[in-house]
Amino acid sequence: MAGPRNISVSEASRPVLPRHARLKYDETRKVWVILAPERVLAPDEIAVEVLQLCDGKRSVGDVSDLLAEKYAAPREAILADVIVMLQDLADKGFLTEAREKTP
């Protein structure tokens, strides 16, 4: 089974971290990290917040709605930032999309 490749993140995408990328709070260094094969990424505060909302069910649009409300910020600006950040993660190979369940 081929894994998803070359994901293009859009408002309708429902992204989620793949099994091999784990978001974790590092108690020793007091930072959030994404653990991946032979890599440790240090997402910034906003990236952490976005990733915690990316559960494979919410769309990028849903995530932006939640953040726009929480920070009382313009949704379009947030959406644009979220897409850039997630696309960057996807290009690095650390983002997947929820698959359609076939009955």
Binding site: M1, R5, R19, H20, T28, R29, E38, R39, A90, G93
Partner: protein, 397 residues
């Protein structure tokens, strides 16, 4: 495996910066992010470039299941985030599933570095259930003839392909680990294609590093300068073409370089590994340096204490131990004088400049020798085993 992990400095403007393996400065040495666990030296393969020491730990010396579990708990506690189960062949240990389960339970990210030949689908599935995060399979080539010959194991290549497929079927991410040398570099384009066909996420193109077994086999493995240039060109082209599909890590052999590699990110700065017998080592080849006494997890010292205070770790840490030309060199904190094991193997003193460096008085001699060997006709391997090596039959005299 490649131990040359990327250490791109965190960039304040990057929301997803790659964290350095330790945020150490020249004076402090934070606990490494990742640790290599060589849980056994036993292995059914006999690759002539094996990174294990020439003097292998016998099974009777290996840490017990409980000892490894204690090590895993301790590593998680002191801030290690990832562990690589390696060997030898880690699946040769009957307790591997139990160890992976324990590592997952204590919150460690687990990676399996395997030759794959001993795995069954059932066992791989059990490892996945135990929480294994990632599988790295070594390949010796793209077809059975050469691959099985390099591995010294009939049927190895076929089995590896099968296990790679199971890995993806179980939705585990796969890295293809290709160790490259004169006798298989011509297969590199096909190895890249094989990695795509196997749906790997990553490919490690790791040119052989010449110490231990590989040093004994240097004449049969050393590539020519032209081969290497071609290899680099192929990797660069493929990286660009396969962006987002296949990540390629690339390790070059340093004999042909002008600057030595920053081996292990500097001795005792970002990395340690634990040997089958429980020795805590600055790199997997460190035991080849005689006169250093490595502490064991079986001692009454904690792993953190050994990392921070043991004589072996402090001996070549930082720059204070350096002699000329390293001592006054402007690059001394960039490459830390290269590789201590290589310096020891080629000059007899680990505190000498690594001859891979153009500033080493031995560089020219070593370079010329490598060139001569690369042009030579010696293709016969000395296979790695517990008996001190066995010479290949046939393949030139």
């Amino acid at each position: 495996m490649s131990d040359v992990l990327p250490t791109i400095p965190p960039d304040a403007s990057d929301s997803l910066a790659v964290l350095e393996k330790s945020r150490s400065t020249a004076e402090t040495f934070g606990i490494p992010l990742a640790v290599l666990l060589e849980i056994t030296h036993r292995c059914p393969l006999q690759c002539p470039y094996c990174s294990n020491p020439v003097e292998l730990d016998r099974s009777g010396k290996e840490l017990t299941t409980d000892e490894w579990k204690k090590v895993l708990s301790e590593l998680a506690e002191i801030g290690v985030l990832q562990v690589h189960f390696s060997g030898g062949e880690p699946t040769a240990r009957k307790d591997l599933v139990e160890l992976v389960k324990h590592a997952s339970d204590v919150g460690l990210y687990t990676n399996l570095i395997t030759s794959a030949v001993l795995l069954t689908r059932e066992r791989l599935s059990a490892l996945a259930d135990a929480g294994l995060c990632h599988v790295q399979i070594s390949f010796q080539g793209v077809e059975e003839g050469l691959s099985d010959r390099v591995a010294g194991y009939k049927g190895a290549h076929h089995k590896k392909i099968e296990v790679a497929k199971w890995t993806r079927e179980l939705d585990l991410p796969l890295t293809v680990n290709a160790v490259m040398h004169r006798q298989n570099l011509h297969q590199l384009p096909d190895i890249i294609q094989m990695s795509i066909d196997l749906d790997a996420d990553r490919l490690e193109v790791a040119n052989v590093q010449y110490y231990g077994w590989a040093l004994k086999n240097r004449a049969a493995l050393m590539p020519t300068v032209e081969q290497l240039d071609e290899c680099t060109r192929i990797v660069e082209e493929a990286r660009e073409r396969l962006k987002g599909t296949l990540a390629i890590d690339y390790v070059v052999p340093d004999y042909y370089a002008l600057r030595p590699k920053k081996c292990m990110g500097g001795w005792g700065r970002q990395f340690f590994n634990i040997s089958p017998a429980g020795k805590v080592l600055p790199c997997h080849a460190a035991e080849s340096i005689t006169g250093l006494d490595f502490e064991s997890v079986r001692s009454n010292h904690s792993i953190a204490w050994i990392w921070q205070n043991s004589d072996a770790f402090n001996r070549y840490r930082g720059t204070g131990w350096m002699k000329e030309p390293c001592k006054s060199c402007e690059f001394r904190e960039i490459d830390f004088g290269g590789c201590r094991c290589q310096a020891f193997a080629l000059t007899g003193d680990a505190a000498n400049t690594d001859p891979a460096c153009a500033l080493s008085p031995l560089h020219e001699t070593i370079f010329k020798q490598a060139e001569r060997e690369a042009e030579g006709e010696t293709n016969r391997f000395l296979y790695r085993n517990f008996a001190g090596g066995t010479l290949e039959s046939g393949n030139d005299a």
